[in-house]
């Protein structure tokens, strides 16, 4: 069981990811944009994994990753972006900010879990 922080402004995606991860026995915290996620992280929540959308209002995923990486507790935490972009350029934007990797949308619960398990080991 791992502590996973899920950030997405889309309620359906959030619910789907949260449900899938909880079914797999993980502890899940959700936030609906980067600002909320950062507040949670700064509030002292530690995570084994962060899964974040990229395009979000208030604070986008890229900024969130940069901010998280500046927090000691999140310096080495794996962070995965949820991205619809299969082009290298867009994926690299996340990487440059400090993301560990990505999950390309559309994805199904099986693919999500496979990737999460891969990262968590």
């Amino acid at each position: 069981m791992a502590n996973i922080l899920v950030v997405d402004d889309s309620a359906s995606m959030r619910q789907m990811v949260e449900f899938t991860l909880k079914e797999a026995g993980h502890q899940v915290t959700v936030a609906e944009d980067g600002q909320a996620a950062l507040a949670i992280a700064k509030g002292g929540l530690t995570s084994d994994l962060v899964i974040t959308d990229v395009n979000m209002p208030n604070m986008d995923g890229i900024t969130l990753i940069r901010e998280l990486r500046s927090l000691p507790a999140y310096k080495f935490t794996p962070i995965l972006t949820l991205t619809t972009e299969s082009t290298t350029e867009k994926k690299m934007e996340g990487k440059d900010a400090g993301a560990t990797g990505w999950i390309v949308k559309p994805f199904n619960p099986e693919k999500l879990l496979a990737t999460v398990n891969k990262v968590l080991g």
């Binding site: 079914e23 395009n55 209002p57 619809t84 990487k95």
Partner: protein, 681 residues
């Protein structure tokens, strides 16, 4: 683990429709050919992006493909690589409509208008200057197939900061080990002296040997996330000259077909899941797809308020049970006090629970800027739409039912009420006409007003028409209200001529009926040359009304308190019998028709002497009538039960309720009563 995606699809639709509204409002606010408002476009882009992401995940591929084009276009605008032309904005607006239809079709398992979708796709493509391709064409991977190998020799040298991105080499080794037999040899040559060692950096590199039939892509995939964070070389292992490695570049049957098959299998799986979802969707069809049975989003503050009140209720309840233990008459005061508190708690709770069903009217109003934008363009009129009070809240059911009537009213104002710019200028008015849409809360009801500063109703034409059709009688004096009222008459409203001369009318009877169906009423005022204003009065909720209980014989009836003007005792000599019109009371200088309810309902043992009973003066649709009853009973809140659903429709009766003492009371439909008994006026 099988996860049923169907449970999230409802949420997906809800947020997608919200997203479409955001896109539409954003597009309408975009000033073509002006400087790019980045935040504005970003908001539109994000909404499109979310719909695209969700639709892909939940299996609506046509939506994903379509949204992708819109998104690409928006992205170009956002980056300034494309002008925000009126043509582009209009195409995007139409695409929003089209997307909405696609989503509705997806929700209801219905067919989409493929031609329309394709036509819009073509227009988007044209704007994007893309070659028009069939929607299903997907780029085939035509990379040359690598020859099969026995395995791979992997040189993996991470840059010092690789682990700063959260990538752990051990994770990659673990994945590689799943692809075949892995040997890991670390290289410690770059390891510095302890004093120089930065604990967060990576100094190790590895030489890995993977023995197995893993294709190049599968191995490269393991390192995809660290591309740019390391030096990586993959060399095929060729231990000896084997028939396989010596084979010419022809695809090796052992590998390529295998991956192709995997892909197909994956698709099959996905398809099967979709059909399962669909089947589940069907089974739940009545619960999920009926528009009325949908869910509602409620602000957390509303839920908290209810929880808070339930807390108070619990306190009152424990107070009462404490009182009940060993009660004696000396504590009667306390009991009364507690009961009063219970009464207050119940009322508050009821009010707050009701509020959960309330939505701001902005959900309906938001579609009007678009309507006005589109229509004024077509009609060549300049219109300023002013919306006020869109945060006013209304019951969800009412909101859903007033949309169409409002569209109708605004269309009428635009089409018939407002004059063309040149005519307005000639009349000494500004060229730009004003249509106002106001919502406000007044004395327990919600009012919505649609006004314009156009030419107003043509009283003369209406009067003539009324006389022609026999709805009005020549020689009688009619008030403006009585004449304007004619536009709601079905016989008149569909007459083509009247809409041409007077400017209004098509389907106004339907508008009124829709409003009445949700317990509302509609009124019109007009000033020649200054404009017309239509006022809709709606109840806060459909489920509960404040009722005045009246008795007729042994029976109890309920009059909606909103319709009651006053109750009076009358003198019989003030009543005149007018041939063909029944009894008329001269009341405050106006003739008031009297309706003896016991006659209408065939009640026995009722008071028949006008001086012994009471006259309840009620008003609906701008007309007053006196209802003759035996006596008034109390006033109370009535929870409405449908008579239609449990019995059948009865004219003059809006519904029924169960009274405190267990009797059934019928709720009177005032405007129905007035219409039934006085069909013309």
């Amino acid at each position: 683990m099988a996860i049923d995606l169907a449970q999230f699809i409802q949420t997906f639709f809800e947020e997608s429709f919200e997203g479409l509204d955001v896109m539409e409002a954003g597009l309408l606010a975009l000033e073509p050919d002006a400087a790019v408002d980045l935040e504005q476009i970003n908001t539109i882009f994000r909404a499109a992006h979310s719909i695209k992401g969700g639709s892909g995940t939940f299996g609506f591929k046509n939506v994903t493909d379509f949204t992708h084009l819109m998104e690409t276009l928006l992205d170009k605008m956002r980056e300034g690589r494309m002008a925000i032309s009126r043509a582009a904005v209009n195409t995007l607006l139409e695409s929003v409509d089209c997307l909405r239809e696609m989503l509705v079709a997806a929700r209801e398992n219905a067919q989409v208008d493929d031609e329309r979708v394709q036509a819009l796709r073509d227009r988007l493509m044209q704007l994007l200057e893309l070659k028009q391709t069939a929607p299903t064409a997907t780029p085939a991977s035509d990379e040359p197939t690598p020859p099969q190998t026995l395995g791979w020799c992997i040189q993996f040298q991470p840059y010092p900061q690789m682990m700063h991105s959260g990538n752990d080499p051990v994770r990659m080794f673990r994945e590689l080990a799943e692809l075949g037999e892995l040997t890991v040899r670390p290289d410690v040559a770059r390891l510095p002296r302890l004093a120089d060692l930065q604990p967060e950096d990576c100094y190790l590199s590895w030489e890995l040997e993977l023995v197995g039939l893993a294709p190049h892509d599968a191995v490269a995939e393991v390192f995809a996330w660290v591309e740019g964070d390391c030096e990586l070389t993959l060399t095929p292992l060729v231990e000896a000259v084997t028939p396989v490695s010596a084979a010419p570049p022809l695809p090796s049957p052992a590998v390529r077909p295998g991956t192709a098959e995997e892909g197909q299998q994956g698709e099959l799986l996905l398809e099967r899941r979709q059909t399962e979802d669909r089947r589940k969707g069907d089974r739940r069809a009545s619960a999920v797809t009926t528009p009325d049975g949908g869910s509602i989003r409620v602000g957390i503050d509303k839920v908290d308020a209810v929880i808070n009140l339930v807390g108070e209720l619990v306190t009152t309840q424990s107070m009462l049970s404490a009182l009940g233990e060993g009660f004696d008459m000396s504590r009667l005061d306390k009991l009364h006090e507690a009961l009063d508190q219970l009464d207050r708690n119940t009322r508050d709770l009821q009010e707050h629970v009701m509020r959960i069903r309330m939505l701001p009217v902005s959900s309906v109003f938001s579609r009007f800027p678009r309507l006005v934008h589109d229509m004024s363009g077509k009609l060549g009129k300049e219109v300023d739409l002013r919306i006020n009070g869109e945060q006013t809240e209304l019951d969800k059911t009412v909101i859903e039912k007033i949309g169409d009537p409002l569209v109708h009213l605004i269309r009428n104002s635009l089409d018939h009420g407002l004059e063309p710019p040149d005519e307005r200028v000639r009349a000494g008015k500004p060229a730009t006409g004003v249509i106002s849409l106001d919502a406000y809360h007044k004395s327990g009801s919600i009012f919505i007003e649609v006004g314009d500063d156009g030419r107003g109703l043509n009283r003369e034409a209406l009067l003539r028409k009324g006389l022609d059709t026999g709805l009005l009688k020549a020689g009688e004096d009619y008030s403006d209200e009585q004449i304007y009222e004619l536009i709601f008459h079905p016989g008149l409203s569909t007459a083509k001529q009247i809409s041409d001369v007077s400017g209004r009318g098509v389907g106004m009877d339907v508008v009124r009926r829709n409003i009445q169906d949700v317990g509302g009423s509609i009124q019109i005022t007009s000033q020649p040359g200054k404009g017309a204003r239509i006022t809709i009065c709606l109840p806060l909720t459909l489920a509960i009304l404040d009722g005045q209980l009246v008795s007729i014989g042994q029976d109890c009836y309920i009059i909606p308190l909103l319709s009651v003007i006053e109750s009076v005792q009358i003198r019989a000599d003030a009543v005149n019998r007018v041939a063909g019109k029944g009894e008329i009371l001269r009341f405050r200088g106006q003739p008031l028709p009297i309706l003896r309810l016991y006659e209408l309902f065939g009640t026995e043992d009722a008071v028949t002497d006008l001086e012994k009973g009471l006259l309840v003066v009620v008003e609906a649709d701008g007309r007053q009538v006196g209802l003759f009853v035996d006596d008034l009973e109390g006033q109370q809140q009535i929870s409405i039960k449908s008579l239609e659903k449990n019995f059948r429709r009865v004219s003059g009766v809006a519904g029924a309720t169960i009274l405190g003492d267990g009797r059934v009371g019928l709720i009177l439909d005032i405007s129905g009563l007035i219409r039934v008994n006085n069909p013309v006026l």
